[in-house]
């Protein structure tokens, strides 16, 4: 089963429109919620008068900060509703009414008096010591992180050349097609909430319990279906407001974001400023890499800590060097909240790194591919000494050296990708093609954590009729996670996948599970499913042996049945075998801490792009794209290819067209829509080739490693490097839009 392209689960429900997303659900007596948002980037609420709104026919309840007990927080810096608003779009109040348009009209009748506070949009301004504080503790969000292996100071002292550069990336929105929604229903003190989620157990349930001031046991969270999340649907404020409205009304309430709300009150990719310094020795070795990143957090922390850490992974680990240092700082600004989005900070950090390394290759007169071949991290890992005590699980985003990878096929990615794009033949020196349509080739590598979660649980139950149900606490966010988990379960059991079903995304019926994040599903949840299924299978075999009076050596699996060779030749069907189990035995639940005590588990990629730049309009056309990936053994090749293609296209938007724009005088988001936050459309699809090394990883379930996020990492630098190759101009700030290209060409010609 593993390695076959099983048809995606739920495909028929999706193509018929029968699959119900949260916004499609209806309950009897259900009301509709709407949120009042701040028109100011930073202000204190002096007073709120809701009487006119409450008097409107059809309005059932209004909630404001007055309804929230003090210190009722979702995160240390995020109140359920606060008396201070910190970005244009920050939540002020919420209304429930019998119809959505009535709730919307009621918002206009809520009178709010604001005291305007100074607003900061630039993180460099906001981090100055005398800047006006956005939160009581000042504008540094959390403590800046410093991670170091060896000593970069010593490394730079040994170097002959030092290369420095600064790189910036924009605010970029995940913009899943489904605007987030929630539907809350109370029965007494117990809440059931259906919502867009990426972690019913470990994200939504505890946050909702905290925000509502009730024990977690009284909260049931169900994610019926996800219309695309890409990591960004990991906030719980809207769910909490929905639940509060429902509690106040005593009726179910559904709250759906508009598209604009999804852009401004969802979660976006953190914009970043990265400064890189790299030392090269006389013999051409990398003696030190030092990266410093500042990210604008927007108004609240969200998942900033993970994002800022993930941003440094490339600089610390993609190139072999004894000395590497990464410093990451998060700064509050009065902008929409940045949070999780596909590969967290890795695309930002590795954009800087991979454009910088391209520049170094050129300065050393090396072909960019050759430079990377010489210097990328090898299977034995980074030089240095292991710091993690023996026997302890190794981080999949380590800083230390001295630990080998479980598998690392980066050199295969480079070889196969280069061949597919025709690198040897087609790569030329920069700006050397004639005419105004200039072609160029570029490439970039990427590495990412291989999918470790802190904890993963799964339950496998076989029913008397022989059907098997796998229960997991994670969610299929649209990428096909349940399909691959089902394949892993079927493989471990040795039965046809048609006998197996999978259930997930419901705190009441599934075991605790991590968030669907960090590309951890296939690896961590896959390991848990495999273990549960294997345990069940062993139990069945034991029972069959006992029943038939034979030993384990004499039984084997044969096409979903059990073949017995001694004492007599006999076949026991799956159903017969299952019947031998007691009800308790039919169910196996495991909880594991996935990972390895010996190896770093990472996924790898190398991407290659050919572009054509029209130097008279600034238009960039991607002519050909090759994405080569080492994600271990591929569980479902077609779904995997679909996911890589999707990741590449989504990030072509990050590279070339997408940016959430803010007016720097008013703090207003200007383009929270699909017309102007220009996500790629179908005609932008370039010829695209996906290559999987498809070599089993010894640590992963049936050899699999993470895949979801890695495709998003090397895209922007590969494109920037290809543009450089075409026209001889470096682009170190994203997105690379025609206006920037034409402006730089004008300067190039003037010089």
């Amino acid at each position: 089963m593993v390695g076959k392209s099983l048809t995606r689960l739920g495909a028929a429900e999706k193509v018929t429109g029968r699959l119900q997303y949260t916004g499609d659900l209806k309950l009897p007596g259900m009301l509709h919620g709407k949120i009042l948002r701040s028109p100011h980037p930073h202000a204190r609420i002096v007073s709120i008068d809701t009487s006119a709104a409450e008097a409107m026919p059809g309005v059932v309840a209004v909630i404001t900060p007055k309804d929230i007990p003090p210190n009722r927080r979702l995160q240390s810096d995020l109140a359920v509703l606060d008396w201070t608003v910190r970005f244009v779009g920050d939540e002020v109040a919420a209304v429930a009414a019998v119809r959505e348009d009535i709730a919307e009209a009621a918002l206009e009748r809520i009178r709010v008096e604001y005291e305007i506070l100074p607003a900061l949009f630039d993180p460099l301004e906001a981090m100055k010591p005398d800047a006006f504080p956005i939160h009581p503790g000042g504008n540094l969000a959390g403590k800046p992180i410093v991670l170091e292996r060896g000593s970069v100071e010593a490394g730079f002292a040994q170097s002959q050349h030092i290369f420095e550069g600064t790189y910036t990336t924009q605010v970029h929105c995940a913009a899943g097609m489904e605007p987030r929604a929630a539907l809350a229903r109370w029965e007494g003190d117990s809440l059931t909430i259906w919502k867009s989620s990426r972690g019913v157990h470990m994200v939504d349930r505890p946050a909702l319990a905290q925000g509502l001031g009730i024990p977690a046991e009284q909260v049931r969270v169900i994610c019926p279906a996800m219309g695309g999340g890409f990591g960004s649907k990991d906030e719980t404020r809207m769910g909490t407001l929905c639940a509060l409205l429902a509690r106040k009304c005593g009726k179910p309430v559904r709250l759906e974001y508009t598209r604009e709300e999804e852009f401004i009150a969802g979660r976006s990719r953190h914009p970043s400023i990265t400064h890189l310094k790299v030392g090269i020795s006389r013999s051409g070795e990398i003696t030190a890499i030092h990266a410093r990143t500042i990210m604008s957090k927007g108004a609240y922390m969200s998942s900033g800590n993970a994002v800022i850490r993930r941003c440094g992974q490339g600089s610390l680990y993609l190139y072999r060097t004894p000395n590497a240092k990464y410093e990451g700082t998060l700064v509050y600004t009065n902008l929409p909240v940045a949070g999780s989005y596909r590969a967290l900070g890795a695309p930002q950090g590795q954009f800087a790194l991979e454009v910088h390394m391209d520049k170094i290759a050129e300065a050393l007169s090396l072909d960019p591919l050759e430079f990377r071949r010489r210097h990328h991290v090898q299977p034995e890992g980074q030089p240095g000494e292991r710091q993690t005590p023996p026997g302890e699980l190794v981080s999949d985003q380590p800083v230390e050296g001295g630990i080998p990878f479980s598998s690392n096929r980066l050199s295969e990615c480079l070889r196969l990708g280069a061949k597919a794009i025709g690198w040897q033949r087609r790569w030329h020196s920069p700006n050397s093609s004639p005419g105004h349509q200039k072609r160029g080739l570029g490439m970039a590598m990427g590495l990412y954590r291989g999918g470790l979660a802190h904890k993963a649980g799964a339950e496998v139950e076989v029913h008397p009729d022989g059907s098997v149900e796998i229960r997991v606490g994670t969610i299929d966010v649209g990428e096909g996670a349940f399909t691959t988990l089902l394949q892993i379960g079927a493989e471990a059991l040795g039965i046809e996948p048609s006998r197996v079903s999978i259930l997930g995304g419901d705190t009441a019926t599934t075991p605790e599970a991590p968030v669907t994040s960090g590309s951890s599903t296939t690896f961590s949840m896959g390991t848990a499913v495999k273990e549960a299924a294997t345990t069940l299978r062993e139990k069945i075999l034991d029972r069959v042996c006992a029943h038939m009076g034979t030993s384990r050596e004499s039984v084997s699996w044969n096409k979903g049945a059990i073949q017995i060779t001694r004492p007599t030749k006999k076949k026991v069907s799956w159903k017969e075998a299952v019947a031998l189990l007691s009800p308790e035995e039919r169910r196996v639940r495991v909880e594991i801490r996935p990972g390895s005590t010996e190896f770093v588990i990472n996924s790898f990629a190398a991407h290659f792009a050919e572009v054509e730049v029209d130097t008279e309009t600034g238009k960039v056309t991607v002519v050909k794209y090759v994405a080569a990936h080492d994600s271990g053994r591929i569980v479902n090749p077609v779904a995997a290819q679909n996911q890589v293609e999707g990741g590449v296209i989504q990030m072509l938007g990050f590279a070339l067209t997408e940016e959430l724009l803010t007016d720097l005088k008013t703090g207003v988001t200007l383009n929270g829509n699909f017309l102007e936050h220009k996500v790629p459309v179908i005609v932008d699809l370039p010829p695209l080739k996906t290559i999987f090394v498809n070599a089993p990883d010894p640590a992963g379930p049936f050899g699999a490693k993470a895949l979801g996020e890695p495709p998003s990492i090397p895209v922007a630098p590969a494109i920037s490097n290809a543009i450089y190759n075409a026209i001889g101009i470096r682009f170190q700030d994203l997105p690379i839009t025609p206006d920037k290209i034409l402006d730089k060409l004008r300067l190039q010609e003037r010089d």
Binding site: R8, V15, G17, D24, M177, E256, N642, G646, V681
Partner: protein, 163 residues
């Protein structure tokens, strides 16, 4: 000239006559989703930008979110719910299943409705024609390559594809 706040109207939805009283500011999408219980067409943007709400008005694909329901009164409307015949998937639907032209599925009904109107008109389209025809629908999972494959494969089945 009647100037009214409420209109008694009917539509022919998936071949059935549906009568109801509507308010003029309701969009066709609101009527389908909130009043006729047809939630297959999705509200992805409500601004005629994403295509998740695409339905057929007569035989043209339109953004149901940006059509006033009252303007469409009396007309034939086909939604994703109207494609199956006798419990069997329409060839385009089957093709999307077979070729994995689906990820999260939210945009899928819209793509299929647009493809349906297009294949009705164009028997053996080129990949480029398919791209142009589907250019008003956004898939953020960006399963575009597989969507094109699905539509081309459906066209090769060579059957009548009319809804």
């Amino acid at each position: 000239m009647k100037i009214k706040k409420r209109w008694d109207v009917f539509f022919i939805v998936n071949g059935k006559r549906r009568s109801l009283t509507i308010e003029p500011h309701w969009t066709l999408l609101e009527v389908l989703r909130d009043h006729l219980g047809l939630t297959g067409a999705k509200k992805g943007c409500d601004r005629a930008e994403c295509g998740s709400c695409t339905v057929l008005l007569e035989r043209e694909p339109v953004y149901a979110c940006q059509v006033l329901a009252v303007q469409a009164r009396g007309q034939r409307i086909t939604t994703i719910e109207g494609l199956e015949r006798n419990g069997k998937l329409h060839p385009i639907q089957q093709s999307f299943v077979d070729h994995d032209g689906v990820q999260c599925g939210f945009c899928t009904p819209g793509f299929i409705m647009t493809a349906n109107a297009f294949l009705e008109r164009t028997r053996r389209p080129s990949p480029d024609q398919v791209k142009q025809a589907l250019s008003g629908n956004i898939c953020r999972c960006s399963a575009y390559a597989k969507i094109i494959e699905s539509v081309l494969a459906a066209s090769r089945r060579g059957k009548r594809t009319r809804a």
